[in-house]
Amino acid sequence: MAKKYYQPEIETMPVEQLKALQSERLVKQVKHVWDNVPYYRAKMEEKGVTPDDIKGIEDLHKLPFVTKDDLREAYPYGLLAAPLKDCVRIHSTSGTTGKRVVAFYTQNDIDLWDDCCARALTAVGADEEDVVHVSYGYGLFTGGLGLHGGAHKAGCMTIPASSGNTDRQIQFMTDLGSTILCCTPSYAAYLAESIEERGVKDEIKLKAGIFGAEAWTEEMRRDIENKLGIKAYDIYGLTELSGPGVSFECEEQTGMHINEDHFIAEIINPETGEVLPEGEKGELVFTSITKEAFPLLRYRTKDLCILSRKPCSCGRTHIKMRKPMGRSDDMLIIRGVNVFPSQIETVLLNEGMTPNYQIIVDRKNNTDTFDINVEMSQEMFSDNLAEVTAKEKQLVASLKAMLGIQAKVHLVAPKSITRSEGKAVRVIDKRKLYD
């Protein structure tokens, strides 16, 4: 019988006790940061706050926010809170939205991060009997080593497959009987397609998957679950905070439990910075209260989200976050309209198409052009051109209904859109508005 929780005493801790633990750790963390990071001290002094003002989580709102711009400004060592000799590793963000950010880890930071990932794996049923197949990229990206460490802690046999080489991935899956797959949702969808093509679905023993590091929709979840015959779970994290495992889904699949003994979550109004009550939609802000090397106080994630402390049937007491409704970084403004790539994915899957698409935005004669390349699928094809163009028109209409603006759809050859086997390149913005 698989264990239900990796750390039951923490994961099911009564909320009041959990909040007391957070308060105690927050007070300590603020002092640690004040003493060791001049950059933070200057920010706090500017706001007129000292560690004495922070007596518990109720005082959290007094602290200044930290943004990605601060991280870039302080690059590389400006936010380091532990002596470099105590650090054992760095990770770095993928740099999709600008200059790289580097995060540092002490051995203790790594241990606690691995615990978070072990909780996520245990929540989807992983134990000593399982073979965890990690197809996240290993390296600077936190996905691979994060789930890898978690799988070790959970006692699973770990296949450090990393990304790429789909043939070898499938071979290991069949030969070694992988039971739990960890990768990005776009790579999971790609693997599902490839498994179907090779006709080896019967030889696959997967029962669950943990998919994160990209925004994905409920439609995509159902698609992956059906194609692979598994349960697909979401996981959330940011390199700035540690990596995957800041929060994770339990069997309920109705949101991700935030590991509150390590991270305090707040929802704020992104315009005013005002803290919003539980249940309201706003920007997600995290404070890491156990990190030694790279602690962040009130880090603005730009993820739009809702928190809920409604009791969960899994027994965990930690607050749940809904799947972020788009990272404000992912959002495109095209002809003045907000467009999230996830909306396009929803339409494609609803129309029975593959979720393989790429958005190309450009500006010609001061007007935004909006093109979507969609891979042709067997379901959409017919020997009758009129039937295909009718389906194409239907797709354009559904996209217009969802997005509010007209996109030009191009049907392209299957597999012609690059699958970066880590993260899918969904958007090519040629407008160069921000340079």
Partner: protein, 143 residues
């Protein structure tokens, strides 16, 4: 007495067609007839080949999207008016064509018309009654 036609999705980019025909020639498939209809960004390439099975496998392996449709192959004399006769017979029976294309079969000294109609069996019946010969799948392979 249907003939199997392979239709392939072609992306509108240079080399798109060569990609398909190369996959077929590599599999030693001979193309008997070909027709291309195109929209702005893509096209549908319809083919009559000597070996449908081998062609399907070759297209699948090279990652193309295709389907196989039953169409009628009608033989006409290689002389003016023979194609008009085919169209007239179908029109008089109230049948409209979805598409059609023709090729010349050297060995038989005949023009062969490939036609797609909604009701294939009904079309077959009226053509037969009008004395217009249909070509079988096996004959196409042997051309």
């Amino acid at each position: 007495m249907a003939v199997k036609q392979i239709s392939v999705f072609v992306e509108n980019k240079s080399g798109g067609l060569a990609d398909i025909t190369k996959a077929l020639s590599d599999a030693n498939v001979n193309i008997r007839a070909l027709s291309l209809s195109e929209a702005t960004d893509f096209g549908v390439l319809r083919l009559i080949v000597d070996d449908v099975f081998a062609a399907g496998n070759a297209l699948k392996e090279s990652g193309h999207i295709y389907n196989i449709t039953d169409v009628l192959a009608v033989a006409g004399e290689d002389k003016p008016g023979s194609i008009t006769k085919i169209f007239t017979v179908l029109a008089e029976a109230g049948m409209s064509l979805e598409y059609a294309y023709a090729f010349f079969a050297k060995s038989q000294e005949k023009a062969i018309m490939i036609i797609k109609v909604a009701d294939r069996l009904a079309a077959k019946k009226v053509l037969k009654e009008a004395g217009i010969p249909l070509v079988k799948e096996e004959e196409i392979a042997k051309l």
